[in-house]
Symmetry: C2
Subunit: 232 residues, 2 copies
DNA sequence: GACTGCCTAGAGTATATACTCTAATAATAG
DNA sequence: CTATTATTAGAGTATATACTCTAGGCAGTC
């Protein structure tokens, strides 16, 4: 594997694990056992590394959110979309953590991210439309639909931050992909009231698969995941 | 005003304006025209300043989210809760921006924030309960209610980040309280399907007040707030 | 062998950052 | 007034951070 690609890969890995803010270019070089000079031969600066990682992320999500034009979508499609989006979120999870700072320090990124957001919102909106075509949810006026899409987006993009901040007192408690995907439970909660009677049971069953499980790990304060869809 | 209080005030102001990450203790001292030594006489470190600001935030929100035990709540109450929460979010808006980093660097803060989140979630849940008592929304099973509460929390806490990141390409475009409060539109969107017929019109009217207005400022790419509840 | 283009090492640098230390000045109490 | 305490200034420091610069290796080609 080329050094350049190794840099991208290691950066992503380190950023995800410890946060972009805590990882310097020197860390990345050290992790790869290459010199800083070498790293800077391949990338002009840290921003360029991040920008390129973002472009991968963008490409991945765009690929998954390619909604078919010619047919309505099924529950299986919906599951696939949700799973894929959360997979993407997981693989590039560092990104949303320091999003505002990153956008402030790179105008290209700000511009691209803005467009990316709009594409995602449009895709969610289209999914709602196609779900209605498929008779899974009742059709809604365009305006409500787009407000709902935005809520879906807000829930998806904030779910990880919620998990990390509501997590057990141990700072190092690390997130799992399984936990992350419990966000699907929350997203499906948003859609519940709009389901058609024919599909209601099936979606409820699907949703049930993502229900947060009670904490397995021992707990200091004992509350933890009660908040997450459990006891009030 | 005491130097100590001035430090807290200026810190909050600077953090809100430029982000905690971009503000050093030296900046704060310079802004107040005091020496770094003076600042460190009053606070052991930067974390302590942030922790104390958080405690103010906490107190404020707790004060506002004190739900009456003895009666159902009205639409006016609901409006007040929503307005207050977004006011609080606005006044301490730096906090959610770097939340994860802040919690990672201060275990006290992590613990307190966790409990704070749980109190907020419980309050939202109670509000849903009282809204049902007041005949504004249809009562829902506890489990659905708490999943809904969590979604409300996710939308509220992520709304600002969304605005800032979806904002016009100008990095410096600054947010207004009015824009922030359009988050109320999104929150009320979540509640729409659960409204009782008697209240539906009134809540729709209330929601309408927070509908995002079309952008007044000129736009580069011309999309901007379309995403925010507008055209799809 | 010599030339060329790509890659790499590693020491080095300018700046920033959080924080310390000492000494001096105000404020207050007796 | 004196003694004590609270507050402040301001120079200074250890460490970190993003990044630069120079020299050289290595692979292929003639």
């Amino acid at each position: 594997m080329k050094t350049r690609d190794k840099i991208l890969l290691s950066s992503l890995e380190l950023f995800n694990e410890r946060g972009e803010r805590n990882i310097t270019t020197n860390h990345i070089a050290a992790h790869l056992a290459i010199s800083p000079g070498n790293l800077y031969y391949h990338f002009r600066n840290k921003s360029d590394i991040i920008y390129e990682i973002f472009q991968e992320y963008e490409k991945l999500v765009d690929y998954y959110l390619d909604i078919p034009e010619d047919r309505a979508i099924t529950l299986e499609d919906l599951t696939f979309y949700l799973e894929s989006v959360f997979d993407g979120l997981w693989s590039y999870r560092f990104f949303h953590r320091d999003l505002e700072y990153l956008l402030d320090s790179d105008p290209r990124l700000r511009q691209d991210y803005r467009e990316f957001t709009n594409r995602c919102l449009a895709a969610i909106d289209r999914i709602f439309g196609k779900l209605a075509e498929g008779g899974i949810i009742a059709p809604q006026p365009a305006e409500l639909r787009s407000a709902m899409s935005l809520n879906v987006w807000l829930v998806i993009t904030n779910w990880m931050a919620f998990l990390k901040t509501a997590h057990a007192a141990d700072a190092q408690a690390n997130l799992t992909l399984t936990e992350l995907k419990q966000g699907i439970y929350q997203v499906l909660t948003l859609e519940l009231p709009y389901l058609t009677p024919e599909y209601r049971e099936r979606v409820l069953a699907l949703r049930e698969k993502y229900r947060p499980t009670l904490p397995e790990t021992t707990e200091q304060s004992g509350v933890r995941l009660n908040a997450v869809g459990g006891v009030a």
